[in-house]
């Protein structure tokens, strides 16, 4: 290569980039990090010291209450002798809190449903690449109905468990996932309808979206439990949980429709034109080209909406559904456990909720990374 001559007749000079040099010591490492983030100015230093002092006063007593002075052994209120938290209360009430009043010997059915949910959510990891999307979406869509069949038991010849006995945190999980799963495609249809050229479809969708988005979920629950039965023919009773599920699904769909609308607006016109130029039909374009990109763009908002819906399931307490919070209140007013264990109870519910929501956001950000094919880095 050294005797390479350029087309200008002279031998070409070979270009070689010079070697990279290490960064100055003051701009890297722990020392630099501390300086930059905690002590960069006088005000910053004062704030740092104040926060450290505050944490030093608050953390040790909290730690003592939570762990060192807490009571774990025993099974009655009398066993809670220490100054700290009474975890015996949670231990005794754990089963109702998690599973409601579902019969003792049948709890494996709830666990089976939870396992199915987990397996379905994990499907992208264990299914072969080619069938991943199709199978996983089909599995998700039938999952709520499979869960109902298992929990109800009659179709499978198992012991019949009426929905009056369904409860606890499992019920929150069931209602939330069932309405998220069905609300997402329904919301997509509404969002499509809202963009449609057909005036009839468009106005129906706009009314539905605005109604379910503009009404507080609590008002919707009351409407579902009080007003909906008025519309059914006399004598027919529709299960309370079914009504709640319908309300939650429509509520989710209304919010999701608006989330998708934002996503639709981020798709450049060129994508529709390219799809049209290779002859894809409206539905092919929508499902194969637009939908995946809309979902990718809307992922953070989809997650926010799903978490909101999941947390909103605690409002069901007010219309007398035995979800986790109303079970906790039930336990607090039990005559054997009068004595103010509300801190423990609410802390427990909060932690369980937090674990679930945090897992949801971890899964969502994993999906987000997975869907990101822009490689802008």
């Amino acid at each position: 290569m050294t005797d390479t001559t350029s087309r200008f007749g002279k031998p070409a000079r070979i270009f070689q980039p010079s070697a990279a040099q290490p960064a100055p010591i003051k701009s890297t490492g722990a020392y630099a990090w501390l300086r930059q983030n905690l002590f960069s100015s006088a005000l910053n230093t004062i704030v740092t010291i104040a926060i450290v002092a505050f944490l030093a006063t608050i953390i040790p007593p909290m730690f003592n209450w939570l762990f060192l002075d807490s009571n774990l052994s025993g099974s009655t209120q009398a066993d809670c002798t220490g100054d700290g938290a009474c975890w015996v209360f949670i231990k005794v009430w754990l089963q109702p809190l998690l599973y409601g009043s579902y019969p003792d010997g049948q709890i494996w059915r709830i666990n089976l449903c939870l396992l199915l949910l987990f397996v379905t959510l994990a499907a992208p990891f264990w299914l072969p690449h080619r069938m991943r999307n199709k199978v996983d979406i089909a599995m998700l869509l039938v999952l709520p109905f499979v869960a109902i069949v298992i929990l109800d038991g009659r179709l499978l010849g198992l012991e019949y468990v009426s929905t009056d006995y369904w409860g606890g945190f499992a019920l929150n999980l069931f209602l939330a996932s069932a309405s998220i799963i069905l609300g997402m495609p329904l919301g997509f249809l509404w969002a499509l309808g809202r963009r449609s050229q057909m005036p009839m479809a468009r106005s129906i969708c706009v009314i539905l979206i605005e109604f379910f988005r503009g009404t507080p979920v609590l008002a919707l629950f009351f409407m579902g439990s009080v007003m909906l039965p008025l519309f059914f023919p006399e004598g027919t009773t529709v299960d309370k949980l079914l009504r709640v599920w319908i309300v939650l699904t429509l509520f989710m769909a209304g919010y999701m429709a608006e989330v998708y609308r934002g996503g639709f607006q981020a798709i450049p016109q060129g994508q529709y034109e390219a799809a049209a130029s290779i002859g894809l039909s409206f539905w092919q374009t929508t499902l194969l080209v637009i939908l995946p990109q809309v979902i990718k763009v809307s992922m953070p908002n989809i997650l926010a909406t799903a978490v909101m819906l999941f947390k909103n399931t605690t409002f069901l307490m007010i219309i007398g559904v035995f979800e986790v919070l109303s079970t906790a209140q039930n336990a607090l007013t039990n005559s054997n456990w009068l004595g103010g264990f509300s801190t423990e109870a609410y802390l427990f519910v909060g932690i369980v909720y937090w674990i679930c929501c945090f897992s949801m956001s971890s899964v969502a950000s994993y999906i987000e990374r997975k869907l990101d094919t822009s490689h802008r880095s």
Binding site: P268, G270, Q271, E273, A274, A275, A276, S277, I278, G279, L280, S281, Q284, L288, V289, P292, Q293, K296, L371, T373, S374, H375, R376
Partner: protein, 258 residues
């Protein structure tokens, strides 16, 4: 339409793969295309140029109905362009298009970008579609990038993928809407090379482009548009060496100055 007109239209469509007669289009009150007439023979290579806003892109976008027109008739490959989904789909099957901004599907790999049409529109089995896709990727010399995503390729590579994506549908006609305008200068050549190769194989091509070198080299006819009208059309030699109208003379003096 009288029977005579139908007969003449059928007649001309045998000879001409595209027949545009008195095409008129308005955006609201703005008259974009004014009585455009154009006949394209099978295998003919046509370059359309003109200042921006002259309606050249709009005209070729009418040919696969990305734009609607209000008045006039158009036959593409013997099918009349009317506002009917069946006709539009039938025409689009025969017409490929390459866009200024590539418009690849960013969520699909290069290979999936190429197979989506054959699989879903032509209902080909996946293996066959992939074989066709690889053939065209070889031709545009990026077969080794098949499993990457569009965002990982350079502009020139993306545009070559876009050409291959259109070719996978085995179109009779290729439309190019300023295919090199969004590219860095050093990538223009690789796209033009692909287009020249395509022209040499006898593809019917309509190119809106400012690449005058390309026009001189491959065009059978160069068309100059301004103000929504076809002002002048001629063979490349005559077009560049002997422009008839003052408007074209001015345009050429501005384009070819450097």
């Amino acid at each position: 339409m009288t029977t005579e007109q139908i007969a003449s239209a059928a007649d001309s469509s045998e000879e001409h793969i595209i027949t545009i007669h008195n095409l008129n289009k308005w955006y609201g009150d703005f008259h974009v295309l004014k009585d455009v007439n154009l006949k394209v023979k099978k295998g003919e290579r046509i370059v359309v140029c003109g200042p921006s806003g002259s309606g050249k892109s709009t005209m070729i976008r009418c040919i696969n109905h990305l734009e609607e027109f209000q008045r006039g008739t158009m036959f593409v490959n013997g099918i009349e362009m009317i506002d009917d989904v069946k006709n539009i789909e039938a025409i689009r099957k025969n017409v490929g298009m390459v866009f200024q901004h590539f418009n690849l599907f960013p969520h699909l790999t290069i290979l999936e970008n190429l197979t989506i049409g054959p699989i879903w529109v032509q209902k080909k089995p996946k293996d066959e579609a992939e074989a066709i896709a690889m053939k065209y990727l070889e031709r545009v010399k990026i077969a080794n990038q098949a499993l990457k995503y569009p965002g990982q390729l350079s502009g020139g590579q993306q545009q070559r993928v876009a050409v291959a994506r259109s070719l996978c549908m085995s179109p009779e006609i290729m439309l190019f809407d300023e295919p090199t305008s969004a590219l860095d200068p050093e990538m223009v050549k690789e796209v033009l090379d692909v287009m020249v190769e395509l022209a040499e194989e006898g593809m019917t091509m309509l190119c809106v482009t400012h690449e005058m070198g390309f026009a001189k080299k491959v065009a059978d006819r160069v068309i100059f548009m301004d103000g929504g009208e076809i002002v002048e059309e001629n063979t490349p030699n005559e077009f560049f060496d002997n422009p008839q109208t003052d408007r074209l003379q001015l345009f050429l003096s501005q384009v070819l100055q450097h």
